[in-house]
């Protein structure tokens, strides 16, 4: 089968043959492409960027990201989790707002530095 590697902006077009233990990948410019193809067929993973609500003046929402990849099938659950979170004080960039998502060891961290109210 054909697929496009999303690891970097090169977007290599991969050809994947075989199954199970005997997956062969071609078209990849680097070895990350092979790992991507295998994961994509067995357990596709994604990093997610989104936002969560806050009650801090000047920040109706604050941007967050997963600091690693989570299973692609859990993205909807992650979004539902994000809707439950409300930040009530200014947080420094990189602060954890949810830990060990779905047992992956991946945390949800802020990607904006929230200063004191600046309106």
């Amino acid at each position: 089968m054909e697929m496009v590697c999303i690891v970097c902006p090169n977007g290599c077009r991969l050809t994947v043959t075989g199954e199970g233990e005997d997956i062969a990948v071609s078209g990849n410019k680097c070895k990350r492409g092979e790992a991507f193809a295998v994961a994509e067929l067995t357990a596709p993973m994604r990093s997610v960027t989104t936002s969560v609500r806050t009650t801090v003046a000047g920040y109706p929402v604050v941007s967050v990201k997963t600091d690693g990849e989570i299973p692609k099938g859990r993205i909807a659950e992650l979004m539902a989790l994000c809707r439950q979170i409300t930040i009530d004080k200014p947080l420094a960039i990189g602060t954890k707002v949810a830990e060990d998502l779905f047992g992956t060891g991946v945390d949800l961290i802020t990607t904006t530095d929230m200063e004191e109210a600046n309106e």
């Binding site: 496009v4 970097c8 990093s47 989104t50 609500r53 109706p60 941007s63 990201k65």
Partner: protein
């Protein structure tokens, strides 16, 4: 108050310029119209920024934060909530008038760095007819609503334009619960990175329709429906192909145009190809002491190069004014544009960073840079696409004849 340099715009280009100018010993005022520094990066919460510079995939605000922190270690004066209304040229420099919280203020300076970014093309810019209803947004406006204000622009959304901004907004709006009924593209091929077609559209089963565009909008007060037409090879709508799609929101991701109102006021000559200023290798425009960088200079694909041009402008304006001798860089063959458009042969010509775009999708090309009849740089490209900017570093240091410089892109 007098400064050596005033930087206008606190996005990635302005931040980089202000830091470098200050490090070079200049007194600097950085003027930003919004409440916070970072420019458009503040709302670009997706990742993929900084791969060239930091070797990491950062979210937009994370990339900005690295420069904002660096700026805090300098003596740069920052004026937020400040909007430049007038610029004047004096014998010894410039006077900038701006509106800020204190009222109308003015400051003098020896040099200006224009880091004003770009604007989005709007509905009027692409001639979409119909009702003047609410619900039609540019992609940047929609992105600001969702990512900064936490408000959704609509529930059932049509996106026009398959560039990366359109694709990223399709995913973002879907994640936040909207139904994106389709991404439409007038060109026969998608404009964004293949990777974004996959991770933004395929992952979320969002359909992409090529060679189709929005030709009319309908709605009483709020958008209710859009008219979609097929287009011919010259992107003209084909009568009789109209389809109607119900939606309450239309997001337009149809191109960016460098913002150069201040440059025009100052009489800075603009390049019709880039829609930014003509500059030399130091990002200095045709007018001594006025620099342009970032997306105000030409629309970049990567923020890493926006920062790079900001640093170039900042470090050179800190060095103060000096006599220049400008030689035009002529272009030939299948080039959409080359930046810089001029070479100052009296300043350093050894490591000249040049950016270019091909005029069409091309394979098997050779880029040749000549000084007089001598080839000073040559590179072969397997594949070139207009949406992908290329960067080369050319050494003119040993060239004998700098009276005529040409850049050519042709079949190899």
């Amino acid at each position: 108050m007098r400064y050596d340099t005033i930087v206008i715009g606190g996005g990635p280009a302005g931040l980089a310029a202000a830091i470098k100018a200050s490090e070079g010993g200049a007194s600097v005022l950085l003027i930003e119209r919004e409440a916070r520094l970072g420019g458009i990066l503040k709302q670009c919460i997706h990742d993929g920024f900084g791969v060239v510079r930091f070797g990491e995939k950062l979210a937009g605000p994370e990339y900005a934060e690295r420069f904002i922190r660096k700026l805090a270690d300098t003596n740069v004066q920052v004026s937020l909530f400040s909007f430049v209304t007038r610029t004047e040229r004096r014998a010894d420099g410039y006077v900038i008038t701006y509106v800020c919280r204190e009222g109308v203020c003015s400051a003098e300076c020896g040099s200006i760095v224009l880091a004003t970014g770009c604007r989005e093309r709007t509905r009027n810019g692409i001639y979409i007819h119909g009702d003047r209803c609410a619900g039609v947004y540019t992609a940047g406006a929609a992105q600001n609503l969702v990512n900064i204000l936490g408000v959704m622009p609509g529930k059932r959304i049509v996106i026009l334009g398959s560039g990366d901004i359109g694709l990223i907004m399709a995913r973002r709006l879907t994640l936040e619960g909207a139904k994106v009924v389709g991404v439409y593209e007038a060109k026969p091929t998608p404009s964004g990175l293949t990777r974004n077609i996959h991770q933004c559209l395929h992952d979320f089963d969002i359909p992409l329709y090529l060679s189709r565009t929005v030709t009319k909008v309908y709605g009483h007060e709020r958008l209710e429906r859009v008219e979609i037409s097929d287009v011919d090879e010259r992107m003209r709508p084909i009568p009789g192909t109209e389809q109607y799609v119900d939606c309450d929101c239309l997001v337009l991701a149809v191109g960016l145009i460098p913002e150069n109102e201040l440059a025009s006021d100052l009489g800075v000559p603009l390049d019709p190809r880039t829609k930014g200023a003509y500059v030399d290798q130091n990002c200095e425009t045709r007018i001594d002491g006025i620099y342009a960088c970032g997306n105000a200079l030409h629309v970049n694909d990567l923020v890493d190069y926006v920062s790079e041009s900001g640093e170039t402008a900042g470090s050179h304006c800190a060095a103060g004014t000096r006599e220049r001798e400008l030689v035009s860089i002529e272009t030939a063959g299948k080039l959409l544009y080359v930046v810089p458009q001029m070479l100052d042969v009296r300043s350093d010509v050894s490591g000249v960073v040049m950016y270019f775009r091909a005029s069409e999708e091309l394979t098997g090309q050779r880029l040749t840079v000549k000084a007089g009849n001598e080839t000073v740089y040559s590179k072969v490209y397997g594949k070139l696409l207009p949406p992908e900017m290329e960067r080369v570093v050319v050494d003119f240091g040993k060239a004998k004849d700098l009276s005529r410089i040409t850049v050519t892109l042709e079949d190899k």
